[in-house]
């Protein structure tokens, strides 16, 4: 069975380590916050100027001055800090943020990512995505394996305008966990009950499959 978006987030949460500073993008990546293991200290960075992001406020406690990069009302956790946008990207650029999780429209087999523009259709801007992908030490992409038309989003090369080159390390989709290795998607795990054949069929880029691909464990 293919994963739902919550299970994708749950699987990505398994990549978190104690002491990690993490930036979560909009969409499925935001859901990763639900599954941070209780025994780990993980601090969330929001690029609009906050370290130590907490959950959504209780009803009636929303504060217009306290939002995340998705412009949602949020709270702070004990020990949090506010800063300006230059410092925020300073900590990203200088490699202080350990992990970035973001969505994508396309990923190529050499780790290129496209997630900001569809020429003639969608021109909203890149926000902080280009800065994040250019500097993050470790980037995990959370996305569906195929687009709504059923076409693979894991390609030999991206067709949409790039957000960054050779930067993605790992991809978690509803079907598989894959790693970018030597210009190919290396299959690491498959979703419970999903066959290697189905993953192969839905992956347009070069796919490396070794024997005995394990199922994801939850």
């Amino acid at each position: 069975m293919a994963l739902d978006k919550y299970q994708i987030a749950q699987r990505i949460a398994q990549e978190l380590q104690d002491g990690f500073y993490v930036n979560l993008g909009i969409g499925i990546p935001t859901l990763v916050a639900n599954y941070i293991p209780a025994n780990l200290d993980v601090i969330l960075q929001s690029e609009n100027g906050l370290l130590g992001m907490g959950p959504f406020p209780l009803e009636g406690e929303e504060d217009a001055d306290l939002i995340n990069a998705g412009k949602q009302t949020i709270t702070t956790l004990p020990g949090s800090a506010f800063f300006d946008s230059a410092m925020s990207f300073g900590m990203i650029r200088s490699g202080k943020v350990d992990l970035t999780v973001l969505g994508a429209m396309e990923v190529s087999e050499n780790g290129d990512i496209a997630n900001w523009k569809i020429p003639g259709k969608m021109v909203k801007g890149m926000g902080g995505a280009m800065d994040l992908v250019a500097s993050a030490k470790n980037i995990i992409v959370a996305m569906m394996h195929t687009n709504p038309k059923g076409e693979s989003k894991l390609l030999s090369s991206c067709t949409l305008p790039l957000t960054g080159k050779r930067c993605v390390k790992k991809i978690v989709t509803e079907l598989a966990v894959l790693e970018i290795v030597n210009g190919a998607f290396k299959l690491l795990e498959r979703a419970p009950g999903v066959s290697v054949d189905e993953i192969r069929e839905k992956t347009a880029g070069k796919l490396i499959v070794e024997t005995g691909i394990p199922e994801m464990q939850f």
Partner: protein, 234 residues
Amino acid sequence: MNKVFTNAAHAVEDIADGSTIMLGGFGLCGIPENCIAALVKQGTKELTCISNNAGVDDFGIGLMLQQKQVKKMISSYVGENAEFERQLLSGELDVELVPQGTLATRCMAAGYGMPAIFTPAGVGTEVAQGKETRNFNGKEYLLEMAFDADYAIVKAWKGDALGNLVYKDTARNFNPLMAMAGKITIAEVEELVPAGTLDPNQVHTPGIYVHRIFQGQDYEKRIEQRTVRKQLPF
């Protein structure tokens, strides 16, 4: 030295058509609501606006777009604004999309007196087109120029008569950077206090950067995405 103005209308009245202005805020958080309203009323046109976002249809910079006061937007993210999209597609509006960290750092460079910065953001993408690149320690970087703005318009939580500013929570965002970067910086504050009242240890923007300050009024502080929880975290 008198930096204190009576209201937004006086603080922005010399902003001429064709000026380049920076506007602080992230989304609708920490935007200079009073000055935007005054600029709309004043009808200043042909403006180049440097701001992370372009507001929503009926609030923030969106109000200036509706009056067709903006010639060019320099922003990182401009979604959530149908009128903006219409003007962009019809060619009425010129837009330069800039990665958010680059936008912030180009403001910072201006405020620090540096002409340009090198950043890896956008290398190998269309953002890099026509820009000088340089390799440092095996990694490619883009040369990005400091902004040159006639005015910076910022919003702070508290400010004193000497222009020292303190921001609240994530309403800080681009405000302190732009405050440092304007040839003339105009600050609107929720609470204007006498000089000597703010704790110098807690000042975010030293008054030297601020030329005009006034007590804002009737802040709407609109929330763009109201998200709440019942009991369980997240």
